[in-house]
Amino acid sequence: MKPRTTFLLGAAAIVGIAGYLMAGAITRTGVYYLTPQELAGRVAHDSTFVGIGVKVGARVVPGSIQRAAGGREVSFRVTDGGQSYPVVYRGIIPDTFADSADVILEGRLGRDGTFRATTLLAKCASRYENAPRPTDEKFRKYRATPGYRAVTTART
């Protein structure tokens, strides 16, 4: 056999192994990534979907966060505008977790309709809409000072 052919066979073997590993790894470790509405839709179609590990991307309902004493357990609600779910999470709570934060939860939906999260990732909402606004609460005193006038009012 020509060396070139041998090499190509070897390369094909490596590519094959890599492909096999990838396919296997995806079926074994891939999880659905859903919004609360999509999750509700799936559960309505197929009741066995309850209890399957999924990832859910949603936003924390403001004011719903209830931290247990200490720092390791928290319950809150998430929503995507349409559907909302109560969530219970135990573990390290990320620094960026707060009201209105966008979160990615990994866990299972329980029969009682509560989502039990095993991981909680939070993106700080302020990271994307972070310019200060005249209406921000912290500027109340500033707005009250005599010299203050808003350049324009409505746009921001």
Binding site: I26, I92, T156
Partner: protein, 673 residues
């Protein structure tokens, strides 16, 4: 100054557009005056982008909060160092940094090639100017750092506390220096394709730029890992997050290129492949910026879509379609000049190295893009995370590690049995001895055992090479061992610098394998209480809490806990971990509390302590982790960077000829080789 900067941004866009147009026209029409004008315009673009950058820095340092960028990322009480680095804390500034680095590189490339590679240069300048014009247009029309708000806030929002870290201050510029340096080889590849001058000429011009890119990516990735480890507090340094993957992708293909370039230099093979690798590396760099900046991948549905995404999608499409067309129409010019002669040869080892590196890159890309792909094909988003990447990349990485040892020892073209016996007897023994020793000491983790066996093998090959070279110098020149070693490295920088990089790789793999032995525990400690644990090496630790303290410091309010550890009864240095609530200059709290991790760093293992919360004023909830060998990740990275520096350190032409890598190979020289 700020106004000058703002205007300079627009002028720079016009000048870059001009440079792009006249350079291509000058090249196509063979008009020297147009080419010269294009090159002058390249220098001018650099000048204007520099002015624009100085303008933004002025706005930041003078705290001009009428600018959205300044108000978004700084506050009046932000330490000066971080006010300067706020330049790249946001999107618009990052783009300006990209443009600044790109135009600086372009100016350097044009200047160093003012007497060389003259046929290629118009197209090189044109391509670089085109990319610069694209970035400037993205800023001018998409995300302008000079965007003003319609009111002036009394103070800005301040910088995210997680970014207030020295590592984060220098990590992005390093990564960008690496990303952007891939644009120069790309421009040369495009020029070589257009002019059909696809012999060694463009490769010689490109090699050092690829090294620069590789060097900065290595440093940047290492810094990024370090930042994630000390700042994010989840106990690891690599999470296979899309942003991290984005920086790894061009590093992988860049590394593949640095190896395959040697095959083309020595044997005239792989000409198509090298062009494809250079182009791919650049496209992956852009894709990396696109992924991290547009929010397509990391996104939860509700994230604000940035207008920049569309611009980058356009650039990616143009780059892929354009170079695809060029490569397709130039295939006959890219015919290889030599054939693989034997499977047992260095060429073959390098080819497999390339297959593996590109395979790893592909799997990482696949895993990163899988949510999008699965949604497009099957309508549901399926994500993969760390387990996927580990399952695929651990076996491939181990194969790669083995090749790291085999490649440099095997002869070019065709290795003889005698060559193999002479070179591999000792390393094989070294590897098996390392594995057997660890097995005897009670290590039972399969992957880790394989990793350490291979590491022993590769380490022995490297030591053997250094020893052989030094001994030869001692005999031939009568030098001492130290002088012999120093001269050996200085005279053959590519070869021995490369070995040092490989040594860094070995250190890294050893450190990665240490993760298999990580141990962690969640504990609650009142003042005076203690927690006992056994580390992976079997030592007995006891952590005693000194209680919770609360105080103000600089621009933050700190809640701290310190632990008094003992190891086998011996007292160890205090470990202190904090929660920090930052506030702005008016005393308002900003952002959510940030964690400052307490780390007791030791070569054998890190003790990593995170304060997760405080209950009843003095009960600290802590996560205590034993992280074996993490220390070596940083030193592995530093070793690799050091090796890279040695490889790319300039050498005189005479020395280069002597070391056997005469990079400009004419086709006729290799055709009969």
């Amino acid at each position: 100054m700020i106004l000058i900067g703002e205007l300079s941004l627009w002028v720079a866009l016009l000048v870059a557009g001009w440079a792009c147009a006249v350079s291509f026209a000058g090249g196509a029409l063979r008009r020297a005056d147009l080419v010269a004008s294009g090159e002058r315009a390249i220098y001018a673009t650099w000048g204007f982008v520099l002015l624009a950058s100085i303008g933004l820095w002025t706005a930041l340092l003078t705290h001009d909060f009428s600018f959205r960028f300044v108000a978004s990322f700084t506050s009046a009480n932000l330490p000066t160092l971080y006010t300067i680095t706020a330049f790249w804390a946001g999107q618009a500034g990052s783009l300006l940094l990209w443009a600044l680095i790109l135009t600086t590189y372009s100016a350097i490339a044009v200047w160093t090639n003012r007497h060389r590679n003259r046929t290629l240069m118009p197209y090189v300048a044109g391509t670089l100017a085109g990319i610069a014009a694209f970035f400037l247009a993205t800023m001018c029309f998409g995300a302008n750092p000079y965007e003003r708000m319609n009111w002036v806030p009394p103070d800005g929002n301040g910088m995210n506390p997680q970014l207030q870290n020295p590592g984060m201050a220098i990590h992005p510029p390093n990564l960008y220096l690496g990303y952007v340096a891939t644009a120069v080889p790309f421009a040369f590849a495009v020029a070589a394709l257009i002019t059909r001058r696809l012999d060694g000429e463009w490769l010689a011009a490109v090699r050092r730029w690829s090294l620069v890119s590789w060097f900065f990516l290595t440093v940047g990735i290492t810094l990024g890992m370090w930042w994630a480890y000390v700042e994010l507090g989840w106990g690891g340094y690599w999470a296979w997050d899309p942003v991290e993957n984005a920086s790894l992708l061009p590093w992988l293909t860049g590394t593949a290129f640095l190896h395959s370039i040697m095959v083309q230099e020595k044997r005239g093979m792989l000409r198509k492949w090298n062009v494809v690798l250079v182009v791919t590396t650049f496209i992956l760099s852009i894709l990396g910026t696109f992924i991290t900046r547009s929010g397509v991948i990391n996104s939860v549905h509700s994230f604000a879509q940035s207008p920049v995404g569309t611009w980058f999608a356009a650039l990616l499409t143009i780059a892929i379609v354009g170079t695809g067309y060029l490569v397709a129409t130039r295939l006959p010019d890219l015919k290889t000049q030599a054939q693989l002669e034997s499977m047992v040869s260095r060429e073959a080892a390098f080819l497999y190295n390339n297959v593996l590196l590109v395979g790893i890159a592909f799997s990482v890309l696949w895993g990163t893009l899988f949510p999008i792909l699965s949604e497009a094909v099957r309508g549901t988003k399926i994500t993969v995370a760390a387990p996927f990447f580990n399952l695929v990349n651990v076996p491939l990485g181990l194969l790669l590690l083995a090749l790291t040892g085999i490649g440099p020892l095997i002869a070019w073209r065709r290795a003889s049995v005698a060559n193999l016996q002479r070179q591999f007897a000792l390393p094989l023994f070294g590897g098996l001895a390392a594995g057997a020793l660890l097995l005897a000491l009670g290590m039972r983790e399969g992957h880790a055992l394989i990793a350490y066996t291979l590491a022993g093998f590769v380490a022995t090959t490297i030591l053997q090479e250094f020893w052989k070279g030094t001994r030869a110098r001692m005999r031939l020149h009568g030098e001492s061992a130290v002088a012999g070693l120093a001269h050996l490295v200085a005279r053959n920088r590519r070869r021995y610098g490369g070995y040092i990089v490989h040594a860094g790789v070995v250190i890294l793999f050893c450190a990665f394998a240490g993760l298999a032995f990580k141990r962690e525990a969640d504990v609650t400690l009142h003042a005076g209480e203690s927690y006992a644990a056994i580390d992976p090496y079997g030592h007995h630790w006891r952590f005693t809490s000194n209680g919770v303290s609360v105080y103000d410091q600089l621009n933050r309010h700190v809640t701290a806990v310190s632990l008094k550890p003992t190891r086998d009864g011996q007292p160890m240095p205090l470990i202190e971990t904090e929660k920090r609530q930052h506030f702005d200059s008016r005393g308002n709290p900003t952002f959510e509390p940030a964690t400052a991790v307490g780390i007791l760093e030791r070569p054998m293992e890190d003790v990593y302590v995170v304060l997760t919360g405080v209950r009843e004023n003095d009960a600290a909830e802590l996560r205590i982790t034993f992280n074996p060998l993490v220390w070596w990740v940083w030193y592995g990275g530093i070793t690799m960077a050091l090796g890279g520096l040695i490889v790319m350190w300039p050498q005189t032409q005479r020395a280069r000829d002597r070391s056997g890598y005469n990079t400009v190979l004419r086709p006729e020289a290799t055709a009969h080789a």
